[in-house]
């Protein structure tokens, strides 16, 4: 939304915006209640969803949290919580571009430096499955594309 507003203010330099150019604002207003509900639900369920993801990942492959002899489960929880909060605000303000610019591009290189792309890929894949169990389909349809963007960015799927 913020990125779109910024683009709009640049594009309509010295003229009035067309109906088509303003469409995203009415779409946003229409979706706002659902966004706010979903945002609040994510806030309420944050630790439960992350814990469920952790348990599923552990049963799937415990080595996902190992780096040599070190278990970095606590670091994973901190990073996932932080990223989850960025995903939630991107959902509320409908601004995946800002999420990408402020967090994902940087975090991608850091995870690559530690060889953690596979863990990130699995994390955001399972998180999508877990989220769908607690959210209504319309709520999940708002969150999952942002989690998928996160998976693709951090999981080494695309640059």
């Amino acid at each position: 939304m913020l990125s779109q507003l910024k683009r709009l203010s640049l594009e309509v330099d010295g003229r009035y915006a067309s109906d088509a150019e303003l469409q995203f604002m009415s779409d946003y207003v229409k979706s706002f209640n659902l966004r706010l509900q979903t945002y609040q639900k994510l806030q309420e369920l944050e630790s439960k969803l992350i814990e469920q993801t952790y348990t599923k990942m552990r049963s799937l492959d415990p080595t996902l949290f190992m780096q040599g002899k070190d278990d970095f489960s606590n670091k994973w929880k901190m990073d996932t919580t932080r990223t989850f909060r960025y995903v939630a605000i991107a959902l509320l303000i409908n601004d995946p571009d800002t999420l990408r610019e402020r967090l994902l591009l940087w975090f991608q290189t850091i995870l690559h430096a530690f060889g953690m792309e596979r863990a990130a890929d699995v994390t955001y894949q399972i998180l999508q499955e877990v989220v769908k169990q607690d959210l209504t389909p319309p709520q999940a349809s708002l969150v999952c594309p942002i989690l998928e963007l996160t998976r693709r960015s951090l999981g080494g799927v695309s640059a």
């Binding site: 402020r102 290189t109 430096a113 530690f114």
Partner: protein
């Protein structure tokens, strides 16, 4: 290239340990009253146009002729050496640990991020041959090459110097650098070789003989050097 200035970034004031601060609005603080642009590490930045880069490269060429490449390289070296000290300080402050205690790849990514935010391009480091004493760096969207366009020869001497200077300070051993593939040669990205002078001389000789980056990588990996 940055100069230190004492202007506080409002995001940094609130979240001083925030590591993900490389987005445009987080990294730079614009002060319209003072006319300054200060980055997260309190370095003062200047905005320049592509005309500035053309002026710098062509002006130097006019002044010193063929020595302009070496001059740009030396400027880069000094910049890299100074930046290594600057980096050591801000890394320690941000992460509460000496940079020598950090994982090497993490350290390097952290070093390059301010450059990415400043528009010097994204990079990729290939440390696969580190034990043999050399490494490769790819730069995507070099500010110099992007500006000069396809001129049929490498142009990123400033970057090569920057890498030579920084890595020399980092490993406390004299290292050099050469650009073995450039966007300005019609390639899609720039590639640099960092290593000891003997390897850089060999790569330079092979390039003059017409070798491309892939040939050079192959010859270095097979342990070939100038006789």
């Amino acid at each position: 290239m940055v100069t230190l200035i004492n202007t506080q970034n409002p995001v940094k004031l609130k979240y001083p340990k925030k590591h993900d601060h490389y987005g445009f609005r987080d990294f730079f603080t614009f002060d319209p009253d003072k006319g300054t642009i200060v980055d997260w590490n309190e370095g003062q930045n200047l905005l320049t146009t592509e005309d500035f880069i053309i002026g710098l490269v062509e002006g130097l060429q006019e002044e010193v002729g063929d020595a302009s490449a070496a001059t740009m390289y030396v400027i880069g070296c000094e910049w890299g050496q100074k930046d290594a000290f600057f980096f050591e300080k801000w890394f320690e402050k941000e992460f509460d640990r000496n940079m020598r205690q950090a994982s090497l790849l993490f350290l390097l990514e952290t070093w390059w991020w301010p450059f990415t935010s400043q528009g010097w391009g994204r990079w990729e480091v290939d440390m696969g041959d580190r034990k043999q004493g050399f490494m490769f760096i790819n730069i995507f969207d070099s500010a110099v090459a992007r500006t000069l366009g396809d001129v049929g020869k490498p142009v990123c001497f400033l970057y090569a110097g920057l890498f030579a200077g920084f890595f020399t300070e980092l490993v406390k051993k004299q290292l050099s650098c050469i650009e073995i593939q450039c966007y300005s040669m019609g390639e899609t990205y720039c590639k640099f070789l960092v290593g000891g002078q003997d390897r850089i001389d060999a790569a330079s000789f092979w390039m003059n003989e017409g070798a491309n980056a892939r040939d050079i990588e192959k010859r270095l990996r097979s342990g070939e050097l100038l006789r």
